[in-house]
Symmetry: C2
Subunit: 343 residues, 2 copies
DNA sequence: TTGAAAGCGCTAACAA
DNA sequence: TTGTTAGCGCTTTCAA
């Protein structure tokens, strides 16, 4: 018994006394169909409650009109906003989205990629896990010419695209700002140097030190997973140091906020004794006291640009052969680093 | 030219000199296939790099093994955690996930549902938008017997299931706690009374007042969208009141935190002058000074239970005909309401 | 400008 | 226990 809710092009064709192929063409505004016919088809389809069957179509066309997204974690304001940006674009063009989390581990990442490969997504948007060392798990995809666009945490890869901000410059600017506020012994709380974002921020920081005649010491770098816990631990290390820093540049807000909380608990004044800056401009940066100096990361735009780029690749509408897009960031100075006047 | 990466069951069958249907059965451990044959099939499939083609299979079986998720917004720790919980389960059973955001508006929600309907998801997990008034947009789904499980923001609906916490009780408990701390004039910052979560929390609050001989006045209820902005506005109203409250129960942490920040700016002491409690136990509740008393919402569990329930429905493995599951919550008392000893 | 027909890869009813 | 066969609904080549 045919389910009434499953109207096919055959049903529409029969109702109009034309052929299924004409209906198929009429439905997608194929130029070879007379306007009048096309309108009749579309009207009838609407009336009958016709819905295209995606599987039949995918099976035939070998395209799924679905794109896969792999992110380290979904639980930051930053990532949620990127996803919103991606959705804005993909929804507009009728693409579905399959979102998966690598949980910051390459093991999960491999399995996500493989699942998405099996789902035959048309393309992929990826931000790499904390500990991913190579792109071998993408080789299946790439050899099938499935386009991949990396964003935020990107990697060099033949034929891939990436969307980023200038992390080096942002790191440079925020460190310079700390220096301008009188900091002379600035610590950096960084992430895995495998990830461009952390590597670049760290190098920006080092360059800023060098350009202002300050020396970098190994003691001034702590590498961690940049979560709440590692922020606390970093603060504890700092408290144990005999020669404490007078400024801290953390590679994300979560860590910066955790550090501020711990330092305050220990009676250290922020920013007077130690100034602290973060990265990302999460909402939490405006709750912590003092409000956190940070880098505004244009998350929505990153998502929109990454998605648009991918769709352009999929539809061969890319005008140029771009391999990297750099979006503008912005330093936001708040109380946690403002010491001018106090010195 | 056949793409080498598209190995079909026909290729496997030919290689083994058996029929495609045997391969199809062997691949999914069909009981009618001899073990030895099955093993040969699976070995050969693996060797040849065979991957099941989901569309062909969906087309044939009329099942997509994909479930749709509609949430108001993705940008809270709470929602991200629920999604993680959902993923934990769906991944395990080989289901894909299509996630979409209603942006808190019923207009978007209608379009999300329609897109998911068109994608022919096997089932749906939904938390309702702020202003959804009826479930008409689900009627297509429901008449097709596509199961829907609501979580957090749920609605009564013939044949649907819901997963919630006892919001009434949580509201009651947290209000009672405020009263036990000496609060006598407690304000409630609530959300739309269309949503069970806000309606129930409000009623729990009112009941607690009544049970402790306190009177509820309309002036003590502010209904808003419960975001950062409405928190600030609520604080401003409070500051303008001649007879200010000595306690505030906000229906989420975002609002509670915004209120605390504004009150502090105005020189009001929290909790001494006004005690403040929130709801959800977002990470921000441990950053704000003083740390926020709140309700721990078992987000991961909610997600896991909702997803399991849906899969049970899909596979007819549900043991009982459950219509509602209530998960345990927990009040977390922190400094923002602790006034004992100060009075 | 339209139609006929083949086939995308898989599944399952039926036959053997 | 295995094979045969007829589609699932759509797209597209080729023919008219």
């Amino acid at each position: 018994m045919k389910n009434k809710s499953e109207v096919t092009i055959y049903d529409v064709a029969k109702a109009l006394n034309i052929s299924p192929s004409t209906v198929s063409r009429g439905l997608k505004d194929h130029p070879h169909i007379r306007r009048e016919t096309r309108e009749r088809i579309q009207a009838m389809a609407a009336e009958m409650g016709y819905q295209r069957n995606k599987f039949a179509s995918s099976l035939r066309k070998k395209r799924t009109e679905t794109i896969g997204v792999v992110v380290p974690r979904l639980n930051s304001y930053f990532m949620a906003t990127v996803i919103s940006g991606i959705e804005n674009i993909t929804n507009k063009y009728g693409y579905g989205l399959i979102i998966s989390q690598s949980q910051e581990s390459v093991r999960h990442e491999v399995s996500c990629i493989s699942t998405l490969y099996n789902s035959r997504v048309d393309g992929l948007l990826v931000s790499l896990a904390y500990d991913t060392e190579n792109l071998n798990h993408f080789s299946n995809l790439l050899s099938k010419d499935t386009p991949v666009v990396f964003f935020d945490r990107v990697a060099e890869c033949q034929g891939c695209m990436s969307v980023v901000i200038d992390n080096f410059r942002a790191g440079y600017e925020i460190t310079s700002h700390l220096i301008s506020q009188g900091c002379r012994r600035i610590m950096h709380l960084g992430g895995s140097m495998l990830r461009n974002v952390y590597f670049d921020r760290f190098n920006g920081y080092k360059q800023a030190l060098a350009d202002h005649g300050l020396e970098f010491e190994n003691e001034l770098l702590i590498v961690s997973e940049l979560n709440n816990k590692s922020g606390k631990e970093a603060a504890e290390s700092i408290l144990r140091m005999s020669n404490r820093p007078d400024g801290i540049f953390a590679a994300n807000d979560t860590t910066a906020v955790a550090v501020i909380c711990e330092l305050k608990k220990a009676g250290i004044k922020v920013p007077e004794e130690i100034a602290v800056a973060g990265f990302n401009n999460e909402p939490i940066s405006q709750v912590v006291q003092p409000n956190l100096t940070t880098v505004d990361y244009p998350a929505m735009e990153i998502g929109e640009i990454a998605a648009s780029s991918l769709l352009n690749k999929l539809n061969n509408t890319e005008k140029f052969n771009v391999s990297k897009i750099v979006v503008k960031h912005r330093i936001i100075v708040r109380e946690s680093t403002l010491r001018t006047g106090n010195h």
